[in-house]
């Protein structure tokens, strides 16, 4: 793990040596980097199975007879944001805990872009700009002061959304932009909510199923301002937070006896234990102190083979992308041929292999969201397109990239020089010096020294500050965006996108995104998404490398009906149970 100091020595050796070295150094920590940058990658979940020959199937996730009882113990920090109120955190740190105690109007399934009923039993669309939700009857809030178990009304839903979107200096409202198309929301009666949009916005349905849109009672806000503490966390979810919950130690969430989904949740309680390191989490699972814990791919691959304990493992998931944003305000990146060349020089499979040990959920990708086949972009499509990437034709890609540099006038006497910024000094801290050295080396090697990178590693907060202020040339990044496809696409690629810190400004892209947003039919919307992805890859808004950055979860043997695809959509923890 100390190989970064003699990178060039090793780089000059045979290729396999470099690969091995990189596996152990430069990119080992990128999975952890994802966790850290998004504030909580260790708590991000999604679908998937595990790699390698030791992989048990993701079975055990279903089967057996549902049994009531037991305490589900669960580790993890609450991420950088350190509280229970997911509506007040611009990243996804508190999301899983929020799903224990809060439920939203709908649940969103990222895997097929659909929403399912939840607090709302259904909805109708009388026209393109109106959605009428009907509430599930007999839903009650948690029996905690000041709400004291009163019945939910449509007015509570109205309040919930207004709290998220109406200017309020006491709140951060980081998700306000996701509700930008809401014109007004009203409660014509106690069980109906009418939402009127300024213009058709299909992403609003997904937004209503997001974990930050949990039903928020006004009395709790009046008393506590927000939902950050165990005492304040009051909603209609399957578990009730104990008042003693703390970000430093964790706490207990008791079963909500009045939960509106009949017979659920199965567990008597969920015990949340705050752990500071993945190593501790792993050891706690191994010694049967935890039911489920999130650990890094590095830890799993180092330790999995010699630890039995009847554990299952599955990758956690999501659409978190790994990318190299460039600063579009700089002349050197304005030529699309240059950006395409930078993209074509990247061997994405190499990056995925080194970074994630080849986990199947981590995909090489030239655009986000990944999983291109879901957006009706086949492997053949990918190979056919001029911007495409294919592991089997790397050399052709490099050749094409060099031709692009030729045509853009980039030569050895007129090289493309830029500073590449990353953070974290130690490999386990992410995109620090070793990763920067890797990119410096591959660009030098593959471009015949025409792309010359100056690595610039720094501490995390400094890096983030420079990124936000657009004071960078290029940087290595991972960032969570939320799950709704429009959020993912728009935040990075729309000119006003919240994560578009490279200031990419493409009117055609903006038009495509706005069009996609206005389509409610899933199949039609997929086609619109495909068009955006093609545009992203063609114009190289940023140099995308991979998506679905993973950590692993390890689970003790008797847990049933859990699924590794969770908070990418709805956590569904009320459906988990222990085998009798």
């Amino acid at each position: 793990m100390a190989a970064e100091n003699n990178y060039w020595d090793r780089f000059s050796q045979r290729r396999v040596t470099r690969r091995r070295m990189l596996q152990g150094t430069a990119l080992t920590g990128a999975g952890l980097a994802a966790a850290a940058v998004i504030g909580c990658g260790d708590e991000e979940e999604g679908g998937g199975t595990s790699p390698g020959t030791t992989t048990p199937p993701a079975s055990g996730t279903t089967g057996g007879t549902p049994t009531r009882g037991g305490v589900f113990s669960w580790s993890g920090s609450v991420g950088q944001y350190g509280h229970l109120d997911s509506s007040q955190a611009p990243s996804i740190g508190p999301n899983q805990l929020a799903l224990l105690w809060g439920d939203a109007l709908l649940t969103y399934q990222a895997s097929d872009m659909t929403v399912t009923p939840n607090v709302a039993s259904g909805y109708e669309q009388p026209d393109q700009t109106t959605i009428v939700f009907t509430l599930t009857p007999n839903i009650k809030f948690h029996n905690k002061p000041p709400v004291n178990g009163r019945a939910l009304t449509a007015q509570d839903v109205v309040y919930t959304i207004q709290r998220l979107i109406e200017p309020n200096t006491a709140l951060l409202q980081p998700w306000r932009n996701d509700f930008r198309s809401v014109d007004r929301i009203e409660a014509p009666d106690n069980s109906t909510v009418r939402l009127t949009m300024k213009s058709p916005d299909a992403s609003l349905l997904g937004t209503m199923g997001h974990w930050y849109a949990f039903i928020a009672p006004s009395e709790a806000v009046d008393q506590f301002t927000d939902f950050k503490t165990g005492e304040a966390a009051i909603s209609v979810g399957p578990f009730v937070a104990s008042g003693s919950w703390s970000r430093d130690t964790g706490g207990r969430f008791e079963r909500n006896p009045e939960y509106f989904k009949q017979g659920m949740p199965y567990f008597d309680a969920v015990e949340h234990i705050t752990t500071q390191t993945g190593a501790i989490t792993w050891e706690l699972v191994a010694s049967d102190r935890l039911t489920r814990g999130i650990v890094s791919a590095d830890e799993v691959n180092q330790g999995w083979d010699n630890r039995g304990h009847g554990l299952k493992r599955g990758t956690t998931g999501g659409s978190t992308p790994l990318n190299m944003p460039v600063n579009h305000n700089l002349d050197k990146f304005k030529d699309v041929r240059v950006r395409r060349a930078l993209s074509l020089f990247i061997d994405r499979q190499e990056i995925v292999d080194f970074t994630y040990f080849g986990t199947p959920e981590s995909r090489p990708s030239v655009a986000i969201p990944g999983y291109l086949e879901f957006w009706n972009i086949s492997t053949e499509d990918t190979e056919r397109l001029p911007w495409g990437w294919d592991a089997s034709k790397k050399d052709a890609d490099y050749q094409q990239a060099n031709q692009l540099l030729d045509s853009a006038g980039v030569t050895t006497s007129n090289p493309l020089r830029f500073e590449l910024m990353g953070w974290g000094g130690h490999p386990s801290q992410g995109f620090g010096e070793p990763a920067l050295a890797y990119f410096q080396a591959i660009y030098k090697d593959r471009s015949g020294d025409r792309v010359q990178i100056t690595p610039r590693g720094m501490e995390f907060s400094t890096w983030r500050d420079l990124v936000v202020r657009n004071e960078f040339e290029a940087e290595l990044n991972v960032a969570g965006t939320g799950w709704e496809v429009d959020h993912v696409l728009s935040k990075f690629n729309e000119s006003t996108g919240g994560l578009n810190y490279g200031r990419y400004n493409d009117p055609e892209m903006d038009r495509l995104i706005q069009r996609e947003r206005s389509i409610f039919d899933t199949n039609e919307r997929k086609a619109a998404v495909k068009a955006i992805i093609e545009r992203i890859a063609d114009q190289v808004s940023q140099v995308w490398m991979a998506t679905g950055i993973e950590n692993y979860q390890v689970v003790t043997g008797d847990l049933r009906n859990h699924h590794f695809a969770t908070s990418a959509e709805h956590l569904g923890i009320e459906q988990f149970y222990f085998e009798a």
């Binding site: 509280h83 611009p90 980081p174 932009n177 792993w282 191994a286 330790g303 983030r464 936000v468 994560l499």
Partner: protein
């Protein structure tokens, strides 16, 4: 003696004041601020500026320092820029944890160091002495965080046991609290005892060779009385200094052990707050640290004065 205490007190307060200025300045010169974390993903410079105004981050250094310091004089450490909680309440929760860990570790350190140091001195040159000196060197040389990791990892892999986690405050669950703290505290204590053992042994050897000890032996006093009552007391002055320094080291140096064992103490608080550029929390915590360190030094200075009247002038 009164003038001596007065001078020391004045010096301590001046030290504390200067510490606040230096730390405040250093924090302000760090690139980045808490707003970039709070609003990450919201690429709106106007919103960021509004939040900076709200949090008082647009004030000049002098204005900000005066505002913060006047709050401090009234016992108000401000609010966490990131969490919005009162810094006093955060410190109030975290400080007892680190203090408890520190005191247990210090107690263990003394418990281990005193018998070993004394026995090693009185049995100079024997196998016992060599053995104990070996222990002392081992305690000083082996990094405690490495041992801590071994304690966490090895038993879990070999016998499926891991140290207790799930920290509870002592007032909530004393048993769980002690069960979580005891292993890291013992580890820290043993690690720290190495230096105390060596210092105590050296001092004891010096004192045991002095004339008054020889006189005591000639008078026929029991060896135990000579060692404990006469020699040990005089050997203690530098040892007290070492213990004072150990306390200071422990108060600020528990971050690694806090991270490994998941103990929510002051070390982790400062580390996290620094990463988030939560100036108020960092300042609040450091002022408390500095005040404790200065108080410990003050007490040590005063104790010197009592132990050695020549130092009072």
């Amino acid at each position: 003696m009164g003038a001596y205490i007065y001078r020391r007190l004045l010096g301590s307060l001046l030290g504390l004041f200067l510490t606040t200025i230096v730390v405040f300045a250093l924090l302000r010169f760090l690139p980045g601020d808490v707003v970039t974390h709070l609003l990450y993903g919201n690429n709106d410079p106007a919103a960021a500026e509004a939040l900076r105004d709200k949090l008082g981050l647009n004030k000049s250094f002098l204005e900000a320092y005066i505002s913060w310091f006047s709050g401090l004089l009234q016992g108000d450490l401000g609010e966490s820029l990131f969490y919005g909680d009162s810094v006093s309440s955060i410190v109030k929760e975290r400080l007892p944890v680190t203090l408890e860990l520190t005191l247990i570790a210090l107690f263990v350190s003394i418990l281990v160091a005193f018998p070993i140091g004394i026995i090693s001195a009185v049995t100079q040159g024997s196998i016992t002495d060599y053995l104990f000196r070996g222990f002392a060197i081992l305690f000083v040389s082996v990094p405690f965080f490495w041992v801590a990791l071994l304690i966490v990892v090895v038993p879990a892999r070999m016998i499926g046991w891991s140290p207790p986690v799930g920290f509870k405050y002592i007032w909530d669950d004393p048993v769980q609290n002690i069960s979580v703290l005891i292993i890291p505290a013992v580890l820290l204590g043993i690690s720290l005892s190495g230096r105390t053992i060596r210092m105590l042994r050296t001092q004891m050897l010096e004192v045991l060779r002095l004339d008054y000890v020889r006189t005591a032996r000639a008078k026929g006093l029991k060896e135990r009385t000579i060692v404990i009552r006469h020699a040990l007391r005089n050997a203690l002055i530098p040892v007290v200094t070492i213990i004072g320094l150990e306390f200071a080291f422990l108060m600020g140096g528990t971050i690694i052990v806090e991270a490994i064992f998941g103990i929510p103490g002051m070390g982790l608080l400062v580390f996290d707050a620094l990463n988030l550029r939560d100036y108020n929390v960092v300042m609040g915590a450091l002022v408390v640290f500095a005040a404790i360190l200065i108080a410990v030094n003050f007490v040590v200075d005063i104790s010197y004065g009592f132990l050695n009247p020549r130092l009072r002038t």
